[in-house]
Symmetry: C4
Subunit: 369 residues, 4 copies
């Protein structure tokens, strides 16, 4: 009899069995010693829940908005590159699952499906586009125009990737996109061939990023982006309150507190630990999202209690995809919805508005008499 | 030669060997990642004892009162469902052991023995009835009337079960009451058949709880309960000082600080860590009980030092029951009495009144010079 | 080739191999879950050393005084019962080794050698007598008179043994003194037979203690002791500042901060963590000793830096004894002398007077900027 | 296919396979329980990085100065004795690798290559000489004169070695320099034979140090050193702010915060934890270096953020040497340069000047709301 899958870890374990090692290594790894990768998970456990009882929770709703758009849950799918390594349908399957569930889907710049493919697969989806700004600004503008045209609702500008973090397993074994796959957004253009012509030793993706991505970015580039598009802009990868302040001052619609799933600078804080100071600094002037280690309904609850408007998860969608494509991603979403619902019921929250900061307490504070 | 059993863990290990897996899984499990389940035990160890010497402890007594009733020990038996899975005599055996020892026994609503069977088995026992409030209020009132009639001394209203927590092992393997057992308090009525007709996938108990238990409860329902019965009311499952305040304001006789043995919302504080702030808030206006992880005499001592009037244990009684029914539960009670007695002697306490807050210190405070 | 023994752990591992299991279990065990037993060791590691450099440490001396008597090292041998289980020469060998080295030896009341045997074996030793006060006060007085007569220099009154702690391994397997050994101080008297006639189930020593030792002791008994002997009195087993205050007020010459090697009330603080508050309270009005987990020269250094006049060790002497009797104990003492000397040299201390409190820092305080 | 080496640990694991056990034991070990050895690594992980985004990091430079000399990286090679046990070219290979890379190399007094050999091997290197002050002051002066003549740029006076720390594995198995190697700086003089004639039991190096090194050193000897040489003086081994103050007052050019790689007094702080208080005390009056546990680019970043001018590493160079002599050490240096560069890019630092204290945060401070 097939074993029942009852939590995200079940899907992760299954993926570890069925994925080819190059894909698993790429998906799973973090930078250097993977301290931050582990911290992302462990830190959630250092925040204790303080549930309210007898709140009349017969009717519960986790509906909310993100950037003003209605969503059916306070969580969405973070951008992860190269999803076709997990399943032939890749990003299209993920986008369809998200659309079916009414949650946000964020497409990576370096996806193995194109902007247009996503638009075709999930025309009614709440699709957002994650943007890496290329040295070639015209190529960058082209991506934005295509996203606008394909009805993407927001630009998520990733700012933590001046260079690619050192994921040791990829450096050691090498990492390359399998021959039958391509970067969907560049399949007829130079960048594509650029990817394939990078030196193959180590991680070809690291080489690609170093040649193509623009490390000269400053906050002026956010001003520039705002001047060329009407799409709301989310800055992804902020970890310091003073950077959050700069983000607000440069007019972003939201800040995604993220450490890129522990894949960039190892040794940075877990995102759930970085969140409170940023929430305090921003003080409501823009929305705040969080990703990194979110695998449980209670993780979502904690992120919201600490001030996030939305939580995003990256790898769990990959594990769902590896399991059974669109169906697997739907299962993951459904599982998290169930878990958030149970967590809200048991914590005494009828709606996301009722998830306030008194619901969490750092473990170190337990002893206060 | 049979190994001597010298601590609760010995009984637990034995139970793990002799119980059928469906029973062990149900008894042992906590919700989700079982963080709180582990914390309940680990946190006791983070409070250090500060014993007094040379206190003339030749005569010691652990007699005390709970809700005004004399008891022979500052601990009692928490309500746990379906005890006949551990031993054919089930709840009756447990109640008899408690009565023989002069300690409190709390019968679960969803026991496999009925209120009346308990009354017959332990007519002189200090029996309390744990109440789940059903959507069907008449059924709820019937339970209360039967408990009153059967001479139960208190109602313990469990408020942390708006829905059942996700115990993954039960979700994974399914959980059902074996065919030869029934919910004792409903054996001739609709609820019984309801239990059996719940969908069998996953935990049938979770399905049952979701259909029968009332998630719409508010503090008004405590007021309502008080209006229909004279029995003292204990609210079980409070973890926040502000909820404790509400409990006091709604006239409860006692608050049971409990996280349902780590089986409901995972990630909440250990009860021993939640206790101090609640004791401070309540400030003597009602009694405070604690359950969760109590397996040693020193655990009881710590709970009392931090302000609890009584400590309760759930699983240890199940392990005793699995060992040898009434006899096994008696052994467990005797063991804990011995341990509490030794702990009191070594800490310099002649009576429970002498167990004051100076007897415990958080480990973090060791370094205060 | 024989392996070289270079630290106390080497002797402990050796003892674990050569001792009969009943002896090893009795020597090694702590009470209940052995949390305090572990803490005694672990806590030393939580105090960091802060060495001074360039202090001209060519001439170093660890000479000091204890109760006014000159000793060649700031450490001595704590009383441990029944040493003949480790080696036929038992306490006599230990006392001889201590005398040869010019350090304090404390003989247990329930030794397997008599007061007089020790006096004969180590006539020039700095021998102290550890006293359990018996219900039979005349027996107690007899012991004191014999110690006085045998030229013992101090009485160490153990106050943490109102009843014997529950050492589970002894409860489980039983514990009895082997037939060929006897309690040396009672070999012609009733107590001896009392020991042998205690119920044999579980620990016979626990039964003996419960019948013979007086749990009714109060601080008045210290006053009484002072009225009947001129020997300086050390109160052994104090863990709280307020008890230390009482000790001072009752005129003791020294307080031994001790948790009986984790063998009495489990869950109490490590002694090194209990020490600072007691040092602060006593403020020089009597000497303060410490035992529990001392196995390294740096442990001694830390105890002195935190205000102890002397550190004592119990089990390490037993491991030396098990290795080669007097010779083995001498090795242990020499090893610790070498370690203390190296630690003093590297910490910049020429004499024990220079071991001040600035030499240690709690690990939690590392981050203070 | 040969496995790719992508981090220092890869070289360490390789060295553990290829080095003879006497060399591995000597290189790898720390004193006593090796607590400080472990802490040196673990403590870096307790400081979290707080990276800045969007700082225009296309042009990055890790050039800096040490004692006024230009260096190509903010890290250098700490003095480690007897490098010819790792590779026939020993110290010469290390010095050449450092020179080729433009980083500082520090030669140990008790190297297996002489001052003159280093000068010949790396004539353009930024070579510094680590000085042990011998009881024989003329021998000491001779060493200084030879270092001056050989164009060494600084004297690094090690002050934490009044006696040699007890490295248990060396005590246990003995440690001696293999017959074909010699102390390069003493090969025609008495000291050489002294080394060989030390008692062979245990560590011959410990015996040598105890006979030759001068434990009577005080801060006056720093004054004396300054009176006899113009070379800038670095005091290596300071761990306390008050000692740092004395160092400044005695006119040193730099303080090396070091615990000798955990090889001297076990139980002292990790150097990264000792650094902040010393930086605060010194307040810019001299340069501050740090060594101990540096194996990652992020370690260097953290040390600089906390106020060090330079980080040094000892063992990593030995692992590189064991791998392939000069080539291996070059690989190690290149690896660390790459890691520092990536870390600077991801932390938003274009130059070492931009590495400020806001880039690190103690993990305990995460919870500050
Ligand atoms: C395999 C993988 C690929 C990723 N690719 C991108 C990407 O192309 N662009 C981006 O902004 N973030 C990318 N991320 C980071 C995610 O958006 C997100 O920050 C991270 O996965 C969250 O952590 P989680 O995986 O623990 O949920 C990637 C993460 C992973 C695991
Ligand atoms: C198997 C099991 C069944 C339980 N059933 C009930 C129940 O029916 N009603 C209730 O209020 N609490 C129930 N509890 C919670 C206990 O009353 C108590 O809060 C918990 O067991 C205390 O933790 P402990 O098991 O670590 O002692 C149950 C606990 C267990 C382990
Ligand atoms: C086997 C054993 C027997 C002991 N017997 C006595 C005793 O008879 N009287 C007493 O005061 N303490 C006794 N103690 C406690 C010791 O005096 C001392 O407090 C303890 O051993 C210190 O801890 P350590 O063993 O870690 O050094 C005993 C300890 C051990 C391990
Ligand atoms: C094998 C070895 C030999 C050493 N020899 C010396 C030495 O001769 N003189 C000295 O000042 N420090 C010596 N040290 C200490 C180093 O200079 C440095 O403080 C330490 O290695 C830094 O720690 P790391 O090895 O973790 O980088 C030695 C360290 C090692 C590991």
């Amino acid at each position: 009899m097939a074993l029942k899958f009852v939590c995200v870890e079940d899907y992760e374990k299954h993926a570890a069995k069925v994925l080819p090692s190059y894909a698993l290594e790429y998906y799973k790894s973090g930078a250097d010693e993977e301290q931050t990768l582990r911290e992302n998970r462990d830190s959630f456990k250092r925040w204790r829940l303080m549930p309210r009882m007898l709140r009349g929770v017969q009717n519960r709703s986790m509906n909310t908005t993100a950037l003003g758009f209605s969503v059916s849950a306070p969580f969405g799918i973070a951008p992860t590159a190269m999803q076709r390594m997990a399943h032939p349908d890749g990003e299209c399957a993920t986008a369809k699952a998200a659309a079916a569930h009414g949650i946000v889907y964020i497409l990576s710049t370096i996806a193995t499906s194109s902007i247009e493919e996503i638009a075709a697969a999930a025309p009614n989806g709440n699709n957002w586009f994650q943007l890496y700004i290329y040295k070639d600004r015209q190529a960058t503008i082209d991506l934005i125009r295509r996203a606008e045209k394909a009805n993407f609702k927001a630009l998520v500008v990733t700012v933590d990737t001046a260079v690619l973090g050192r994921r040791l397993v990829n450096e050691r074994h090498g990492f390359d996109l399998p021959a039958h796959l391509k970067l969907g957004n560049f399949n007829n253009v130079d960048e594509k061939s650029d990817f394939q012509t990078q030196k193959k030793e180590g991680s070809r993706l690291a080489a690609y990023a170093s040649v193509m991505f623009d490390p000269s970015l400053t906050w002026q580039d956010i001003t520039w982006l705002k001047s060329i598009t009407k799409l709301p802009i989310v800055v992804k990868g902020v970890l310091r309150p003073d950077d959050a302040e700069l983000a607000v001052q440069h007019g972003v619609s939201a800040i995604a507190v993220s450490n890129h799933g522990g894949r960039q600078l190892d040794g940075v804080q877990a995102t759930i630990d970085a969140l409170p100071a940023i929430v305090k600094q921003v003080n409501g002037r823009c929305e705040i999202f969080l990703d990194g280690g979110v695998t449980r309904g209670t993780d979502v609850l904690k992120a919201l209690a600490l001030g996030a408007k939305m939580a995003f998860f990256g790898r769990p969608a990959l594990w769902g995809l590896a399991h059974s494509g669109e169906e697997g991603v739907k299962n993951i979403i459904q599982l998290l919805k169930t878990e958030v619902d149970v967590a809200m019921a048991l914590a005494g929250c009828r709606s996301v508005d009722e998830i306030d900061s008194s619901l969490v307490l750092r473990q170190e504070l337990h002893s206060n008499l």
